[in-house]
């Protein structure tokens, strides 16, 4: 680890937790610590999703910081109940409460002791110190912790499967739901912020935006026939699916984000096995169209040099997809920890990919300046590199603060891949066109 991090390529853990809690129905998040963390995280999520994001804080004072946060947390639970009346309160810790060593499970016990008569809200919690993880680990850990706290097992429901999402966009969550349903499976999708972070205008007031996985659904996770878990690059201890496997013996398929033919095939194969149904024709057609597009565009893409950066799971999947198109990923970079992508088989696809892990944007910038690159693919924080190097940046992942439509970005599945593919191809064609002396109207 370097001494000074310059323009980090990862965010902090409670942001991941807040995102997961936004995917639970009628849930309000409390970050346990000083109010700045909650405000910053709200600001950051709102900038990306352009939707309301309400996160409460237990608002530490100096006194709390020294003597512990129990009373503040109890007070904040009470006030959130009074003003929002949620079904669920999701608590995540911050670096401050972790440094003090507040024990949230004890505080919740104390709350329950003081409020024996109350049946709701249900209080969930997760521990997310950022000095021990990133927004990505915070995200998966929260999924894991919520599932460990809510899932019960009664009777196996043969048609029901759990889908534990990765850091998908709201539109992508909708796509996943459609795909799974098209196999006549009943998915429990978690987290599901497809409505809460991509809602319409309101003709009725909503203290908490509508949408999200309900508590009932969450507790039925233990009845599912299988889990598909997208925490592909994460350790098993952060996987909700692996937890259910251990605890209830529910088979778990750890899938990479389905981008590109190979990774989509894996996902569809899993669904086909679980449903014992062939892949529906609309998807085989989508697949064929995608391959057809690969063929048509190969002349533009072959040998183009791409630098891909961002969250480890996304980077891995995008690289795997690019390998199919003839694009050469010359550098794959992530702010995720060492080993998060280097352990995967990226170098089987490409001759020589520089793999940067636990890196910051300055490392990526350095790399881009000293090596040949044609295109950048990553979050909007790469805009400095794009500007400096004059290379186009395809925005994907989190955050996207300088373009609209982050919530509707859809890169998963065959069709989603096709969206991404067309964007990349057209960007490359445009560059070629602009660099030609003659004014070609046909490319």
């Amino acid at each position: 680890m370097k001494d000074v991090t310059k323009n980090a390529c990862h965010l902090c853990a409670p942001l991941g937790a807040s995102l997961v809690y936004k995917g639970i129905k009628n849930c309000v998040t409390i970050l346990h610590g000083s109010q700045g963390c909650a405000t910053y995280i709200r600001r950051y999520m709102i900038g990306h999703y352009r939707e309301p994001v309400d996160i409460a804080s237990s608002s530490f004072t100096e006194h709390t910081a020294v003597f512990g946060g129990q009373e503040n947390l109890l007070k904040s639970i009470e006030n959130v109940i009074q003003t929002y009346d949620p079904d669920i309160i999701g608590i995540a810790t911050t670096c401050l409460s972790e440094t003090i060593g507040d024990d949230i499970s004890m505080i919740i016990k104390e709350y329950q002791k003081r409020n024996m008569e109350r049946t709701r809200p249900v209080i969930l919690y997760t521990s997310t110190p950022s000095y021990r993880g990133t927004h990505v680990t915070g995200f998966f850990k929260t999924i894991h912790d919520v599932v460990t706290q809510t899932s019960k097992q009664a009777v196996t429901n043969a048609g029901q499967i759990n889908i534990f999402n990765g850091l998908f966009s709201p539109a992508e969550i909708r796509v996943i739901r459609t795909i799974v349903s098209d196999f006549s499976l009943f998915p429990v999708i978690f987290p599901d912020y497809s409505d809460t972070l991509d809602g319409g205008s309101w003709n009725q007031y909503h203290p908490v935006p509508p949408g999200g996985t309900s508590l009932k659904k969450l507790s039925s996770c233990g009845n599912s026939a299988a889990s598909i878990d997208f925490s592909f690059c994460q350790k098993d201890e952060l996987s909700a699916g692996m937890f259910l496997k251990e605890k209830f013996d529910i088979p778990c398929f750890k899938n990479a984000y389905p981008i590109g033919i190979e990774l989509c095939d894996n996902f569809f194969k899993t669904l086909s096995t679980l449903s014992q149904k062939p892949v529906p024709e609309i998807y085989t057609q989508q697949r064929e169209r995608l391959i057809d597009a690969y063929v048509d565009s190969h002349k533009y893409l072959y040998g183009q040099k791409a630098v891909v950066f961002g969250e480890e799971n996304l980077v891995y999947s995008i690289c795997t997809f690019l390998a199919e198109t003839g694009i050469n990923v010359v550098c794959a970079a992530t702010g995720g920890p060492a080993g998060s992508i280097s352990g995967l088989k990226l170098n089987d696809y490409f001759n020589q990919t520089s793999i940067l892990e636990d890196c910051d944007y300055e490392d990526i910038e350095e790399w881009v300046i000293h090596n040949e690159t044609d295109i950048l693919i990553g979050s909007s924080r790469g805009n400095k590199i794009a500007k400096l190097s004059g290379k186009p940046l395809i925005r994907c992942g989190f955050p996207i603060h300088d373009r609209i439509g982050a919530s509707r970005q859809e890169f998963l599945g065959y069709n989603g891949t096709h969206n991404l593919f067309d964007q990349i191809t057209n960007t490359i064609i445009e560059r070629m066109q602009n660099s030609m002396p003659a004014n070609y109207a046909t490319m």
Partner: protein, 541 residues
């Protein structure tokens, strides 16, 4: 809307408070005032937000690193802490900067952090901090490095000041200083402003005595952060007037300009909340008088310029000011006359900042719009009621937590700019000379003034009053707009601006015209269209 059930402002307030537990309701009650100018009303402000109530406020660190120090381009700012705090304050405030030469130092695009890990929390982070400072120094050889503490740092007891001193001595040619601006230290950003003022005053101001201009009039502009290019418009105006802007705190600024800023003869204060400490300390130590100004609003700009000219008592300068006003104001008035036809009578609410909720009322008045409610996010009582209340403001544990520097006359650098007699006269002719009269006296009677409005409260206000526009920040924007009310961001300006000065005023008129008159809102069927409860005309009529 004559068939509306009419409820009074008093009833709205009651309804809002009814949802809170009794203790919280009692507390919020004191921050909720139905304005009666001249009646000596008190408002509770700068008090801790109740845990669990979703606030607009940020933390002390945000006020220190983000607001005050963020816009200075040539200090390497290192956040000492885990990654989030630094990341979230990375280039999000849209303060612009324009180095004179391309080769000039400019670190604005960077976000340096020690990105503390487990072992730093357990065994202390000073070693990592030291190495980070060294690395930054080796990389850039900057003039200055500033260290900002985040919450965990305060707890584990890292001494950022000692490390800074040590590194400063070691380098010899680089000013290194630290800020104990842990997020929990104060009630809001405001505590961070104070801490930033203190440290800049201690470590930078007065370290360079050279007068770098031949211009006769030298001023500093305090509390102008160049959001959306505001400072550029003001620089243009002062340039035209032949007035030297020694330093702006801190839009488009450099550390050298701070070092030199004690050579100015007048401090103009824009955002009183964030920078009044600096104005006061510079007065005591160097003898520079200050006056409150407002460059938001064309007429307000003209008025402020005239006040400045009055202070310098120079006919040539006064003539220049008048010339500028006669040249620029009519153009602005021509624009506003046309736009006013579409904005007159519309209503606005402003819940933002520590001065903007007041300053921007000017622009709305120029558009003939009515302010029906306003409040600050992190201001103190004097920003509402005027500085006269200062002796009566209770000093609580949170305020005591922030160091008050003991400042004395600098024996060699103190210079009397104006005689006692002249100062007295100026005070008489200009109520805002060394004074701020606050927001409440300038608001109509019957309007609502709410400090630290919560997310829940603002939604109820929207529902009850259906204002034509709501001004706040990005955190409120999408919630408010879901209900069909446009929200103008007055932190980041919605990526527009400048709005200061004459040119800025025109930009703002156009922007508000666009926002309140677009057809888009008619596509949304907001809840009150179905069930109207209050006629906004009712209040303050």
């Amino acid at each position: 809307m004559s068939n509306n059930k009419k409820i009074t402002t008093e009833e709205v307030k009651e309804e809002i408070l009814a949802k809170y537990p009794p203790k919280v309701a009692r507390k919020r009650d004191k921050s909720f005032v139905i304005n009666e100018p001249g009646s000596g009303q008190e408002i509770q402000a700068n008090i801790r937000t109740v845990p669990g109530i979703i606030t607009q406020r940020g933390c002390t660190y945000a006020g220190c690193k983000g607001v005050v120090l963020g816009p200075t381009r040539d200090i390497v700012n290192i956040t000492h802490g885990p990654i989030g705090c630094g990341f979230y304050s990375w280039l999000t405030r849209r303060n612009q900067t324009l180095p004179e030469k391309e080769s000039d130092e400019n670190y604005m695009a960077y976000c340096f952090s020690t990105d503390m890990q487990d072992e730093n929390i357990v065994f202390g982070g000073e070693k990592k901090l030291r190495e980070a400072i060294q690395e930054a120094y080796d990389l850039f050889h900057p003039k200055a490095i500033a260290i900002f503490s985040t919450c965990p740092v305060g707890l584990i007891g890292d001494d950022v000041h000692a490390v800074s001193r040590e590194m400063k001595e070691k380098f010899g040619d680089c000013n290194v200083f630290g800020f104990s601006c842990e997020g929990y230290r104060g009630v809001s950003q405001s505590a961070g402003h104070h801490i930033a003022n203190n440290q800049i005053f201690k470590h930078v101001v007065g370290t360079d005595d050279t007068i770098k201009t031949t211009k006769k009039f030298r001023i500093n502009l305090l509390g102008e952060y160049n959001i959306g290019g505001d400072a550029f418009e003001l620089e243009r105006i002062f340039e035209r007037l032949g007035v030297e802007l020694v330093a702006t705190y801190s839009g488009n600024s450099t550390i050298d300009s701070f070092a030199n800023s004690h050579t100015a003869d007048l401090n103009l204060v824009m955002c009183h909340r964030s920078i009044n400490y600096m104005a006061e300390m510079m007065q005591t130590k160097y003898g520079i008088p200050w006056m409150k100004v407002n460059f938001i609003g064309a007429k307000a700009t003209a008025k402020s310029l005239r006040k400045m000219a009055l202070y310098f008592e120079d006919p040539a300068l006064s003539a220049e000011v008048e010339k500028l006003i006669t040249e620029e104001l009519p153009l602005v008035e021509k624009e506003v006359a046309e736009i006013k036809k579409r904005t007159a009578g519309k209503t606005a609410m402003l819940f933002v900042g520590g001065s903007r909720a007041h300053h921007y009322q000017e622009l709305f008045k120029e558009l003939d719009m009515r302010i029906i409610a306003a409040g600050y996010e992190f201001a103190h009582r004097d920003d509402y009621e005027g500085r006269d209340v200062l002796p009566n403001v209770k000093v609580d544990a949170d305020s005591r937590n922030i160091e008050e520097l003991k400042v004395e006359k600098d024996s060699s650098r103190y210079k009397e700019r104006a005689s006692e007699k002249k100062l007295e006269e100026l005070k008489k002719s200009n109520p805002e000379f060394q004074n701020y009269i606050g927001m409440m006296p300038e608001m109509e009677s019957g309007t609502l003034v709410i400090d630290d409005i919560s997310h829940y409260e603002s939604e109820i206000l929207i529902k009850k009053y259906q204002p034509d526009i709501f001004c706040a920040g990005i955190k409120e924007k999408y919630a408010i707009q879901k209900s069909g009310v446009p929200l103008k961001q007055l932190h980041s300006y919605d990526y527009g601006g400048p709005y200061a000065g004459f040119k800025g005023a025109v930009n703002f008129y156009k922007e508000i015209d666009r926002m309140v008159n677009t057809k888009i809102w008619s596509l949304i069927a907001p809840p009150w269209k179905k069930d109207p409860e209050i006629d906004a005309q009712y209040i303050s009529a």
